[in-house]
Symmetry: C2
Amino acid sequence: MPSTLGPPLRCVDSLPAIDLSSFRPTPDSVPPPNVSYQQSQLQDAPVNYHPLNPFTFILRAALIYSDKLALAHPEGKHSAFYTYRIWAQRIQNLAYALIQAGIRPGDRVAVLSPNSPMIADAHFGVIAARAILTPINTRLTSHEIAYIIDHSDAKLILVDHEYSHLLPTSKVRAVVCHDTGRRGDPYEEFLSSGRKFSRERGWAGLDVETNEDTGAVLCYTSGTTGRPKGVLTTLRGTYLAAIANAVEGQINRQSTYLWVLPMFHAAGWTFPWANVFGCATQIILRSVDYPLIWKHLLHSNVTHYCGAPTVQIGIVNDPAARPLTRPVTAVVAGSAPTPQVIEQLEQLGITPVHVYGLTYTYGPFTRCYDHPFWSDLPLTERARLMARQGQSFATAQEVRVVYPPKHDDDQDMVDVPKDGKAIGEVVVRGNIVMKEYFKNPEATRKAFRGGHFNSGDLAVMYPDGVIAIVDRSKDIIISGGENASSLAIEQELAGHPHVLEVSVVARPHALWGERPMAFVILRPEFISKWAMDHVAFEVELKRHARERLPGFACPEWVRIVEELPKTSTGKILKSSLRKMVAKL
Amino acid sequence: MPSTLGPPLRCVDSLPAIDLSSFRPTPDSVPPPNVSYQQSQLQDAPVNYHPLNPFTFILRAALIYSDKLALAHPEGKHSAFYTYRIWAQRIQNLAYALIQAGIRPGDRVAVLSPNSPMIADAHFGVIAARAILTPINTRLTSHEIAYIIDHSDAKLILVDHEYSHLLPTSKVRAVVCHDTGRRGDPYEEFLSSGRKFSRERGWAGLDVETNEDTGAVLCYTSGTTGRPKGVLTTLRGTYLAAIANAVEGQINRQSTYLWVLPMFHAAGWTFPWANVFGCATQIILRSVDYPLIWKHLLHSNVTHYCGAPTVQIGIVNDPAARPLTRPVTAVVAGSAPTPQVIEQLEQLGITPVHVYGLTYTYGPFTRCYDHPFWSDLPLTERARLMARQGQSFATAQEVRVVYPPKHDDDQDMVDVPKDGKAIGEVVVRGNIVMKEYFKNPEATRKAFRGGHFNSGDLAVMYPDGVIAIVDRSKDIIISGGENASSLAIEQELAGHPHVLEVSVVARPHALWGERPMAFVILRPEFISKWAMDHVAFEVELKRHARERLPGFACPEWVRIVEELPKTSTGKILKSSLRKMVAKL
């Protein structure tokens, strides 16, 4: 297909290919006189009410920073650079194309794509068409994808060419994107089908959704057990969560955000909208490629990126890593960053911001807020404080840690004491909690029992009101009747100088019921040292553990591995490790 | 009264008096175990919905930064310093005290006070009691104050001791505050009356307002003609406007905000809540005192303040002014800053942020957004761009400039061309537009005609979508049939090196209908030069004007004055000048 492509459609090629710093708005450029970002459809709505809708962020950004670089896709086979004005136009075209293709308010539009301009477009264009965006994880099997398409009842699928073979042969219309940004690309032709209506009607031709509680995004959870579940979020929640992420990350018009996190995961934690709310520039990378990440960290004025600790480990240990001359913020979620990672990030000039959340909470719901006096503390102590999951996010309600309710009644939610010891479940409520499990009222009812969303994460609360996750309830290891936190064990083992990454799960034990088993990736420089004698390393690591952990929490078995099974966001799949353990 | 005061009530005196930089949270301080900032009253509300309410900001700030300095009142006769924890407690006490005093949901609670801890408390405590805060301008006459108390039907008045003599002898209960923060002060005793309930019930004992469209603040506009009108805002609007101000000003936990603007004016443009949303420290000054402002700019780590251009003129020209070593942001509203002020601010290390708004729009509704290429422009050109009122604010809908509608129908709202020339009226809509004129449906209907709030400000729109106010419709001077903008004339006259401040109004003229008359305050160093020969200065200024303005816009009369009549926020009262002119 690329060989038959026509000339570039828009200004794509007239902009520099890599050196983003030379991209500057043209002072004297004047928009065509009929360009308007107005939506004047709310004739009957009150003057003083507009439904909260994250899609409106693009209208404002395109109005204020029309000639600013909005979306850079420098590393694709065909690079593309879109200003806010041009990007807004593409989004408008997409909305009209979807409506022309028969998409009606509330319909689901699926997208199966790595990070690309198309999936960025979809985060706005699908919502502008009043449809529900249904992003699909690209690592799923064709079987799982078929299930999601079927369950969501998607009316149309936007699919990246590398993943189109995973689609079921169904009657659902698929629009394939070759990620070229050029004429002849089926996705570009699809956009063109909306252009006629864009020209005639503009933004004013697109009806505004008047109910802000309407569905916005339908994300399917990876589902470590059973079928994936659809998590439906709302326009209001997405608007408020996106603003919170812009506020907490201090993303503004001076920011450049590098896409390391996949946009399909928990709708990219709402950063696709947060970045536009802040009028920032976004750089898209199709995959997590550490040398490419460093190329842009060093040369493209990147100020922000998000990633799980395992991605951060990859970044700080890449050979291209060198100290940055400009402040960069790394938002870390998925699990707590270790002291090693924190130290390495800081030495490179990268400030880690530790947040905690779930797909059910639009991503981040808490943040570990720093205090001035922390800077006087030794690193290990500071890292211990920074590893806690923190307190409620900018637009969240308070987070609680409670003993499990006895009945489905709020009265039974009893907070654990703020002693940093008593373990309870993290429960949350408020505007950045999902609307529902799609088509599953029973699961919704169960998740919302006690008037809160029940996270399934076990935590303690410290006297300063900060929560710290102890473990997922299913990851707790019951060793000789004691509850051992796999996270706490991992944190101690990660402190061993030869350990790059470690994961701990329960393994059945005849005497003790369960005992911890550790899977370890060695630091590259120590691989050869232990290559011929894994037993000696096991002895060494157990010695390290015994000095730091109670007996019941010391790993009974240690296994050196080359890699760990991970989700698309780099979260370690303990379910896979447990399956492996079951076969031993 | 101060002589009979008892010992300090709380930690007030144990904290340093002036040197705010030495105020640090105590790492090992632990809140009492039963402190909770939870509001769990929304039993029947959905898990995923919480009504937007700016009062909740204090709960989150007190949870995260409990031992941080929240409110500093260093310059009162009795200084006071409150941490977030203690301030939140005082707010809770106030809410319970109000409820005990018979205040019911929706009741108005008036406050007549300069900037003080009491009026800061009231911005949260009155809303926590589900009442409507009614701030009264301290510069009003007792007659006007009586009218507002009567019209708002206020059930209780919190009044600063310096203004209690202005209160009508009515049956409305007044709580007098001597601004001491100490036992024996009637306001402190009033707070104490709520403490018993605070202890017993905590935050959980205060019902949450479930409807976010409920009234939050009732501000009376200064009313240059006729009776003052009550502008009612909502909880939702205040929440969203406050977040927008925190976002636009980049107010966060590293910020220290200096109160120069009166909190009673348009509810302090929502900064009382924006600062708490950002978990910032606020420094309170009872009045606009330039030496005191400089003391804190230089020594108290101030990062933000707000003020009209006339206040900025006072700040930059104060003898204490010297370049600051730390970035300070000055939010400027009320009228456009002149190139002189911009240059002087920048030379002192203060970055002006020019915003535009009205009491009806919770304060700022647009901002003049800067662009990177501006830094390459000469100051005069940059100042010309910065003097424009800009584009829609973070949580605002788009602003329009339209020809007046022929009928009360949206269809008749026709946008002026984006040519920077055609003059229309600024109209806005969306979440940060007032709820209504209180008890005045006819005025509300008129203000909302055409489906927008009609601002009464005349503006042009430039090709880049930026609006620039030409004048208030009533301030336009119709000179020889031409429309002369008093603002444009003022901007040119302010460029004369001897002019400190200038205001221009229409004066009737036998031949031309109207002609501009200029009132000028001279720069101190030039006062003596012209003292004995005002006519020579008039000749000189008219020469300056003729080189820059069309004949019909040149002032026909020039008057040197010592001061200009101003509102409490430093806005020049052109109505007073017109009255003066009418007597000439």
